[in-house]
Symmetry: C2
Subunit: 338 residues, 2 copies
């Protein structure tokens, strides 16, 4: 019996949406409640949440606890995206306008804070009773740890842009995306599944999840610069936002001094001063130096290594069917095309 897929996504979404306020007698607070539901109500695959449920099943865990934990993780993702979009001044999210472009950024910031609190409220509904397998304290600890790592990665990402730094090496980039993306996308979902079963997580989850999560983020960076792919974000938004990516690190390491100077100059401009022609010149340089292919190849190597490492650890778990589905899901995650 297959567990993951649209039906599981829908179950997770239902728990998530039920954790958010819905309606209020005060019209302005009714609007406040509605704003908290904007991102969660947009179509999303809830892959991270599904990974929690699969990992819990593979560990013989509690399904109710897994759904709550999965929805908590998706709610985390949603509030982070609201704040992230403000921080990057992104234009789009999941095929619609970014929240801070629908309402004042100040209002959107506060909406994100309210969603953050809703996440803790949901997680604190996990049972404390000794007759249930879920280790509630372990779930809460994992969230604390995961949010810290994500915020650290976010800090590196944001401060490099804010400080106009272009001396970001491939290693710097990998450190940043491991913190910013890999933990909450793969490592923590796998570990949370174990906590839902009251079991210690395999130490392999950490290394393998880092590889797979890094592959996922590089793939995201690559897709952002692929004109032919519509994946819910603005084409080349990373260049408009001046993001330091692996693609950019490769380009700057291989470009001529003149080319590199031009790329730096364009990326350092404020968003409004980045004409499409200037962005096209950067895209041409990326093409010329094969930086997109380089990134794609590195992502594939990481995904392969992560999958190999994960395979043996998963083979030891009691739920063999669910373990197989985990492999499938993380493979599709790391090789995502949209």
């Amino acid at each position: 019996m297959r567990r993951s897929g649209p039906e599981l996504a829908e179950r997770i979404r239902r728990v998530l949406l039920a954790a958010l306020p819905d309606g209020h007698e005060h019209p302005e607070l009714e609007r406040f409640a509605r704003l908290q539901r904007v991102y969660p109500e947009r179509p999303g695959k809830t892959l991270r949440g599904q990974l929690v449920v699969l990992s819990s099943a593979a560990h013989d865990g509690d399904m109710d606890a897994a759904l709550v934990t999965a929805a908590g993780l998706e709610l985390f993702q949603n509030w982070v995206l609201v704040h992230d979009d403000i921080e990057d001044d992104s234009e789009q999210r999941r095929g619609g306008p970014a929240l801070h472009r629908m309402v004042a950024p100040a209002v959107a910031l506060n909406v994100g804070d309210a969603m953050h609190v809703a996440m803790w409220r949901l997680l604190l509904t996990l049972p404390t009773a000794a007759d249930r397998p879920v280790d509630r304290e372990a779930v809460l600890r994992e969230f604390l740890w995961m949010i810290d790592r994500t915020a650290e990665g976010q800090h590196l990402d944001l401060s490099w842009v804010a400080d106009g730094r272009f001396d970001i090496s491939e290693d710097d980039y990998l450190t940043m995306v491991t913190l910013k993306t890999a933990y909450y996308t793969v490592v923590s979902p796998l570990r949370l599944g174990a906590a839902c079963a009251g079991r210690p997580p395999s130490p392999v989850f950490t290394e393998a999840g880092r590889d797979l999560g890094v592959a996922f983020q590089i793939r995201d960076d690559v897709l952002n610069l692929r004109r032919d792919v519509a994946y819910g974000k603005e084409f080349a938004g990373d260049l408009y936002e001046g993001k330091r990516t692996l693609i950019l690190a490769h380009l700057l390491a291989h470009a001529s001094a003149d080319e590199a100077a031009e790329v730096r100059e364009v990326l350092a401009r404020p968003r409004d001063a980045k004409q499409p022609e200037a962005i096209e010149r950067v895209l041409a340089a990326i093409e010329r130096h094969g930086s997109l292919d380089y990134a794609q190849t590195l992502a594939e190597a990481r995904a392969r290594r992560g999958l190999e490492r994960l395979h043996d650890a998963l083979a030891e778990l009691p739920g063999a069917d669910a373990a197989l589905e985990i492999e499938e899901l993380v493979r599709s995650l790391a090789a995502r095309t949209v």
Copy 2:
């Protein structure tokens, strides 16, 4: 034996600061840790935290749990202020520059999120053991409830400014500040103290705390427009930020049509376009209509009513000395001069 004062403030601050990261091997993450400590390290009276400790003592509560809860409340205040200052684009906080004016606003926003997580980490150190009087779940529930109310009040405040609304009545204002300030300043500290003792809070705390908290916020609004008071924020910052205050509601309700139109026009300008002369004209109108005195008088009436209501409820608590100190502290809070 007197409990409140600088010594207790110092004890709370120590618990608070120990809950924040301190140092990191990565230089940029060391900076991230340092940024989280900027507001907490500035001088502050931690009155809300002290109120938690006093209320716990009055309920015969656990001192260690009260200190953790008090520090958690102060940490709440600190992360909210980081976000609040971004939302209002404030210039100063506790006598220094606002955090988003020291670093990029995007970086400051993320710092606030990390501080928010640190607050939950600290609260989750509260003991679950049945041999300790503290009701950890009640403390966590109170925080969830309190942060929701504060975010709702914040939403009203921000959306009125963002939407350029000037039809804010005295009742609207009182609803907003009850949510935004009164709960976390007085109601929740009193209730948290009861939770630290594992006792149910008196229902009187809610009504009395609302009155006292509203008095505190109105007093804050009044101080902001008093040229002769230096209290850590920019003089007339509320006018530069276009805040809807009781003073403004009174002024607009009593000004002539021409005066009101001018006041609206000035306040609706973007901050950069608010020349000091224009702000002076608004201040002169406030003076002319006695709006500051009106607000001050209403604050005093609320404080009096709140204190009367609180008095009887406090008389029933086991810790009589601490109960007396609570009265003293909330009186000074509502009548604050700096």
